[in-house]
């Protein structure tokens, strides 16, 4: 598999061409392998981040994306460079999928000068104007109106970009989500709302938090169609997103509810008393998105064991390099304390 040198340091393979799914094309071997690689990068990156947290190299909150990789990889495959993305605090996977450099993401986790926010944002607050990635927001659901605003700016400027807004099942009960759905529908803004339903908002299961007949139906009162998608199957995500992105691009906002699962705790210090070990193990064994795709790749003849092993090796190298960079990058200069509060008028 050939890669551009710019990806050597570890951004996932970024934007797809934004056409295939909308056209109903079946993803070819190259594409399937790219998804496998991108999901694996997120998995290994997050495992390493968890380890580095345990070593005291990463502080504060650190929300890992392990288990949910198919969601962001499948959606990103339907986006182009003109599209923008915004998400909440469980954001490492989104950044890697948007093509941001693994070194810069990991160095932000360690609070170092080489991080995307020069060490001043941390796990929940990273951005890349170059990749149209608008954060990384730490307040549950605050990213939702922001994403509608990004959609507004696409429309205002006469561009055909789509704004993709990710939020969780927990955020789906916040009032500002409904203000946002109303504005997006009322003003016909190009916004795709992706609800990552990983079953638990911190320690509260969806059934204990959300009334009604499913989060995907929550746009009904605003005329926004919603669809329930197997978020543990990257091909299903890709197929659903292709249609929804095309709709949104035409000014018809849409909701996709991704049924997914996080294997790790909410953050790092989560006793996980709210679910059983068996439940987690069952999901890992039966529904793991990476294992499922690996099986497809092998059984349908897209790749042999050697090719997959080569990808594994390549990912290991990228993650090791990112971890080393993040550990060696210096802490920000004390003078950075006072920079970036206001822009010079």
């Amino acid at each position: 598999m050939s890669r551009q040198s710019s990806k050597k340091r570890g951004g996932a393979s970024a934007k797809g061409n934004g056409r295939a799914a909308a056209n109903g094309a079946v993803p070819d071997s190259d594409r399937l392998l790219r998804w496998y690689r991108d999901m694996l990068l997120i998995r290994r990156f997050e495992e390493r981040a968890g380890q580095m947290y345990g070593m005291g190299l990463i502080g504060g909150f650190c929300h890992l994306y392990i288990g949910q990789e198919a969601v962001v990889v499948g959606i990103q495959a339907c986006l182009g460079e003109r599209d923008s993305v915004v998400t909440g605090y469980r954001d490492h996977g989104h950044m890697l999928a948007a093509g941001m450099d693994a070194r810069g993401v990991m160095a932000e986790l360690t609070g170092r000068e080489g991080g995307y926010s020069r060490g001043k944002g941390g796990s929940m607050h990273m951005f890349s104007r170059e990749k149209n990635f608008f954060g990384g927001h730490g307040i549950v659901a605050a990213q939702v109106p922001l994403g509608v605003g990004l959609g507004f700016s696409h429309r205002y400027k006469g561009e055909d970009g789509v704004s993709v807004v990710y939020f969780g099942d927990g955020a789906a009960n916040q009032g500002q989500v409904y203000e946002s759905l109303n504005l997006a529908a009322l003003w016909e803004l190009p916004v795709l709302f992706v609800i990552e339903n990983n079953k638990y908002g911190m320690g509260t299961s969806v059934s204990r938090a959300a009334a009604g007949s499913g989060l995907h139906a929550r746009g009904g009162g605003f005329g926004i169609p919603g669809r329930l998608v197997d978020g543990m199957d990257v091909r299903a995500v890709y197929e659903a997103a292709g249609e929804a992105v095309a709709e949104a691009r035409g000014g018809k906002p849409a909701i996709l509810e991704m049924e997914t699962y996080r294997y790790r705790g909410h953050s790092m210090s989560d006793p996980a008393k709210y679910r059983t070990r068996e439940e987690v193990n069952r999901m890992r064994r039966d529904r793991d998105p990476i294992e499922r795709l690996r099986h497809v790749l092998e059984s349908e003849g897209h790749a042999d064991a050697d090719a997959l092993k080569a990808i594994d090796g390549e990912i290991r190298e990228i993650v090791a390099d990112a971890a080393q960079f993040a550990e060696q990058s210096p802490e920000p200069d004390p003078s950075e304390l006072y920079t970036d509060v206001l822009l010079e008028a």
């Binding site: 060490g119 605003g149 205002y156 203000e179 504005l183 206001l342 822009l343």
Partner: protein, 451 residues
Amino acid sequence: MPVAVTMPALSPTMTEGTLAKWLVAEGDRVSPGDVIAEIETDKATMEVEAVDEGVVASLVVPEGTEGIEVNSTILWLNAEGESAGAVPVAETPRPVAKAPPPAPAEPRREASKPQPAPELDYRGETAEITVREALRDAMAEEMRRDETVFVMGEEVAEYEGAYKVTQGLLAEFGPRRVRDTPITEHGFAGLGVGAAFGGLRPVVEFMTFNFAMQAVDQIVNSAAKTLYMSGGQMGCPIVFRGPNGAAARVAAQHSQCYASWYAHIPGLVVVSPFSAADAKGLLKTAIRNPNPVIFLENEILYGQRGAVPTDPDYTVPIGRAKVLRPGRDVTIVAFSRMCAVALEAADVLAGEGIDAEVIDLRTLRPLDRETIASSIRKTNRIVSVEEGWPVAGIGSEIAAIAMEDAFDWLDAPVARVAGEDVPMPYAANLEALALPDAARIAAAARAVCYA
């Protein structure tokens, strides 16, 4: 007995208006609910309905009369069967036959006629316009200059602004750039911040800043902090503007000064103009500023007139206070409507031989420490005035600045005059007691002068 129909107040802050049109003539019979006249203020045209039944005996005020005070008689009505001779036409002064005011307790706060801002030290061409028009002109000029500037808020477009500040903008710029929002402060504030991240320059109107509390998370956590959290990548050029502070008789939830709330937040710029010229010049600067700016207006000042430069390049720098009245005995700092009250106090003090220097802070973050400190070095005494609450208020910060930057020049402890530390009451007498007035400011000034 004939019944007097008086000039109605159409809003909490209206003190006078124009009788635009009579819809009845002498001799007409009217019933309750009949529209009898149209009245205009600088904000709106409204219909006046009859409350009593009867025959119009006389129209006291001719059509087109301006400046008719609220509560003065505009029409006499005879009850059925009464003769026209009963009407006291001869004694009716024009245009005002003032009904007795509802006996307010002292001190009475006049919602009207704050002392005008002093003349502008500007030599170019000016026009005499209201603060309301100055704000509108600032937005219109910046929208002409920069295609990315747009205005958004409740009732800003078709209704032309709840306080008529956005009058005419929809007609000139169309619905793409002048956006009516639903009543959804949290949502549209966040949408505005997202649009600013996306490269636009939103001007977000809050109908009043009281309602911005619904949106404070988006203002503080999203607008103010993202530049820092992104290592300088994510600028947020947005203006949040609208009336702040107490209007008149709208009680606790609608009468609050947010100056110290927003001035507390790094990553925000906070501006609160007093004069019409500053309203225009500072709003233009705020729209051009690459940072989130909180622009605190005042409803009672909207109708105040002043000379305003017509040059579209006229701007007023952020971060500079202005000496409204030079003096040598005591410094009084204030902002927004309280500047008028401070000037009134200075007049009182002048009559007693105390020469007060009055400073309009204009920007509350960053505060102009140098102008404050250099005034203290001259007068050796300072009184801070604000409408908001005293605890952790702007006056607390002024006191700190006085100590940090001018301690050796102080001849008396800093005095603070602030709103009373209570929710705003509705009753007219209690409301007046809750807000600073000239008497209290003058008393504080005398105290620091040991006079």
